[in-house]
Amino acid sequence: MANEHASKQYDLDLGAIRTRVLQMGGLVESQIRRAIDGLASGDLAALEQVIDDDHRVNAMEVALDGDTSHLIVRRQPAASDLRMIFAIAKTVTDLERIGDEAQKMARMAKAIHERGAAPLPPAVDVRHAAEAAIAMLRRSLDAFARLDCEAAQGVIRDDAGLDAEFRAILRQLITFMMEDPRTISTALEIVWIAKAIERIGDHAKNMAEYVIYIVRGTDVRHTRSPQPGA
């Protein structure tokens, strides 16, 4: 893209913004990981830290929003650059929501461990789903860094698998709740965590769609292709 611009400073500005978006992604990813580790270990201080650190994610969102609108006003970008800036603005929103989901997971995990409740067996499946969601987030951020359409399409396909895992966890929890009503409150909290993970997958999928939009200029949201497994 460097050739399309007379101004080198412009490229530097845009590159710096992209790097910061990706750093925000890294922070959000570590938030999810610490929340899910905290669920497994019961380390309340670590969970507390995740809840507190959400403000860092929010601060990055505010700063990046300011910088993108600044860039639009000053440089009046067109064509692929305008698409890039649109995509950055939307990616930032999705990342901020993922941060909120991580915070939600930490809250629920904290509630479970503060009550001293015994963890239910689906905790293992929740961990597995969380790893899958983290992998999706990682790959969509990689695709954004490399502007790699194929990787982005892979992320979009994987979302269906994560949704299926969420439904399986839900069925399992329903069985537990029916067998032993004492597990209901813990099971409900695990449902919230699983739902948050499923939402993280959706946001990662959105981000992958923006990558395709940047590169191809086509909007693949809400379309039937690419089919799962296609």
């Binding site: 990706l22 890294g26 990689d142 490399r146 790699d148």
Partner: protein, 435 residues
């Protein structure tokens, strides 16, 4: 005067001399005419060579410098030599670079070369695998765009040599070291420390566990000592207290004995394999078990008298004895403990079956960890040190034997030791008659 000048002047002089001669013989106009033609030919010669040189320069193919005649010969030969030297230098450099890259690939650690703005210039395969880089696509990309650990982002902004540990690909823990060199370059070294961290955690846990296990009886001991020293007690009570103190001291001794046994199993070479008379050994194990049970359990032994084992009698005795004492301790009084020793095509098997409390499936893989306990209180009550199964595991590993555990809560347990066929020996005939 250079060779080019000399040759040019010589050819001009030759044309002029020939023209003069022709002019003298055939008249001035013929002379001038020849002179003009000669100059034209010289010009043509130069233009032709110039155009060939120009053509080569637009696409300088290696080793194909055009050849020339006359004054061009000097120039083009020099160019040819220069070009050959350059080609050789280029090849040397390429080889040196390739050697250097091969060396960097062979390093045990990952290496990423970062240029200005922390952009990736090169990385070896190990670094690419650990950090999820793809060198075909990622050259020129700021490294922070792909390795997004928040700790790295902070470190990249700092000066000097830095060290940090981040979460790498596939759950690995990766230690990164940033070393500045040159004006803007930095070297990013990465090493997989997953295993090292795990070992460190195990060591810390082990030390914490040992201290905890020894402190508990010691606290009780100190408490009783204070009581006996400070208070006037009647002789009966004093005897009771001393008895309890003895019990705690004995427990500490058992823990230390077990720890020493474990360290011997881990560090000493395997003693020369002798014949272990399994039948006799099991009779002793059974007698010890009956003593431990105090008649509370029904113990039985079914042993094939025809198989012996090559190995260390003392280690096998301690492994089998630990399995039997575990079975007795985790079986409520009145329960049954059945010992069996059988031979089969896949080796000999010693099994201990009980009708005890059983073990939940999630605990089974961890039972042989040191100080791992399913139920802490219960195990201590019954006098366990938490090291028995660790000793069993180590002693069996030294005999190429495997331990399999089948159990369910409330349904009793079966611990089976399988010794491979190369370890079994037919029992001596004389022995059989005696037995």
């Amino acid at each position: 005067m250079s060779a080019v000048h000399r040759k040019t002047l010589a050819s001009l002089a030759a044309v002029a001399a020939a023209a003069l001669a022709i002019g003298l013989i055939a008249g001035a106009s013929w002379g001038w005419g020849f002179f003009g033609t000669g100059l034209g030919a010289l010009l043509f010669h130069h233009v032709r060579h110039l155009s060939r040189l120009a053509r080569w320069l637009t696409d300088p193919a290696r080793g194909q410098v055009p050849e020339g005649t006359g004054s061009w010969d000097e120039v083009l030969t020099a160019l040819h030599r220069f070009e050959r030297a350059a080609a050789r230098r280029e090849k040397d450099l390429a080889e040196a670079l390739a050697r250097f890259r091969r060396a960097a690939q062979a390093l045990p650690d990952g290496v990423v070369v970062l240029g200005a703005g922390n952009r990736i210039e090169w990385s070896n395969d190990k670094a690419s695998a650990m950090l999820g880089l793809d060198l075909r696509a990622d050259v020129g990309q700021p490294v922070g765009n792909l390795v997004r650990a928040p700790a790295l982002a902070e470190t990249l902004g700092a000066q000097g040599t830095q060290e940090l540990v981040i979460q790498g690909e596939l759950g690995a823990r990766v230690m990164l070291r940033l070393i500045p060199y040159g004006r803007t370059q930095r070297l990013l070294l990465c090493r997989d420390v997953t295993q090292a961290e795990r070992v460190e955690t195990m060591r810390r846990d082990f030390v914490a566990n040992v201290s905890h296990e020894l402190r508990t009886p010691l606290t009780v001991l100190v408490g009783f000592l204070e009581t006996v020293r400070e208070l006037k007690l009647d002789p009966q009570r004093q005897r009771d207290y001393l008895g309890m103190m003895r019990e705690q001291a004995a427990r500490m001794q058992r823990i230390i004995d077990d720890l020493l046994a474990l360290s011997v199993l881990e560090s000493s070479p395997l003693p020369a394999a002798g014949r272990v008379r399994v039948r006799a050994l099991l009779d002793r194990v059974l007698a010890d078990g009956k003593a431990l049970s105090g008649g509370g359990h029904v113990l039985s032994l079914e042993a094939d008298p025809h198989v012996d084992i090559a190995g260390s009698e003392q280690e096998l005795a301690s492994a089998f004895g630990n399995l039997v004492s575990n079975a007795i301790r985790y079986t409520p009084p009145g329960g049954k403990v059945r010992l069996s020793w059988t031979d089969g095509p896949e080796g000999a098997t010693f099994a201990v079956e009980d009708t005890g409390v059983g073990i939940a499936p999630e605990h089974i893989p961890r039972l042989t960890e040191r100080f791992y306990r399913v139920d802490r209180g219960r195990s201590r009550e019954s006098g366990g040190t938490g090291l028995g199964l660790a000793i069993v595991k180590h002693a069996l590993a030294r005999h190429e034997a495997t331990l399999s555990i089948e159990s369910a809560p409330g349904a009793g347990s079966r611990f089976a030791v399988r010794l491979p066929p190369q370890r079994t020996l037919p029992a001596l005939v004389a022995e059989r008659r005696e037995g």
